[in-house]
Amino acid sequence: MKARVTITPKRAVLDPQGKAVQNALEHMGYSGIAAVHVGKYLEIEFASGDTPQIRQKLDEACRRILSNPVIEDYSLVIDES
């Protein structure tokens, strides 16, 4: 079982990395980009376990350590395969 955690900066937070990537893309001719946000992606593997329980624990871990709720949002997907 694998959990996928995506962490992105909150929209109100300055994201100079996103802006730099956007500028580079535009410079290369990729037009029509409204915004780029650079975040983090984590894969967390479990040998076994109960999905609702894992989700509950990971939700807590996302708030406590994996993301900083002051500056970041997160999304959590659990892949049961």
Partner: protein, 232 residues
């Protein structure tokens, strides 16, 4: 006065802080991050560096070290805690100070002398800084851009928790004097109880004339005077 200087894996200003405190006539000892007690500390300094390699976020992992439990308890009893650079990031991650520090607006690591304006002279960290005296102190960081949401910033302002702002050599708080994009040019803040403070600039690197500035001493002197007043 006895300073406890915390030491995490990849702290790199721990020796600077020890040296600064001792050169000012105080005793100071290093406290390893796995310790669960602070010993006979009168004040705690969380030094600069890259604790845990800055993995995940600056300060995110250090805040869960056993020693930080002891620091939280020390602070909850009114103990003085100063976080410098990475120490400021750790205090924010630990929720002991509001807000967070994110990547510099320029995406550059900035290592230079800055000028600081002191906004509140009534804290244990600023009480010996003469009014209208600007401090010239170096910064050295890649993630020093202070962020807090609107209501939190208002709260900081209304409780006089903004201790230092980046300014020009003439004391103007303008965007050109802001090395990292911090909201309101914030360089350092304290908590509501005024016993925990953090700042990105390094007073520990500005305590001897051979280093180009002795302005950092005023912060250490403030701590000493506040501590002695409280102990009396």
């Amino acid at each position: 006065m006895n300073f406890a200087v915390l030491q995490f894996p990849a702290s790199n200003c721990d020796q600077d802080c020890l040296h600064a405190a001792r050169s000012l006539g105080h005793s100071a000892s290093l406290i390893w991050h796995k310790e669960s007690a602070l010993g006979a500390a009168d004040a705690v300094i969380i030094p600069g560096g890259f604790s845990y390699g800055d993995y995940l976020r600056c300060g995110a992992i250090a805040r869960f070290s056993p020693v930080m439990q002891a620091v939280q308890q020390f602070a909850s009893q009114g103990g003085l805690v100063l976080g410098i650079c990475n120490g400021f990031q750790i205090l924010c991650e630990a929720g002991m100070l509001p807000g967070a520090l994110v990547r510099n607006r320029s995406l550059q690591f900035r290592c230079e002398q800055v000028f600081l304006k002191t906004l509140a002279h009534d804290s244990p960290f600023t009480c010996q800084i003469p009014t209208n005296r600007l401090l010239r102190i170096p910064v050295a960081h890649g993630d020093g851009c202070y962020f807090a949401d609107g209501p939190e910033l208002e709260d900081l302002k209304s409780h006089n928790q903004i201790l230092w702002q980046y300014c020009t050599a003439h004391g103007d708080v303008i965007d050109d004097a802001n090395p990292n994009g911090s909201l309101l040019n914030i360089a350092g803040i304290c908590n509501r109880n005024r016993n925990v403070a953090g700042l990105m600039p390094h007073p520990d690197r500005a305590c001897e004339s051979m280093l180009g500035s002795t302005d950092g001493r005023t912060i250490f002197e403030s701590l000493t005077v506040s501590f002695l007043k409280k102990a009396a």
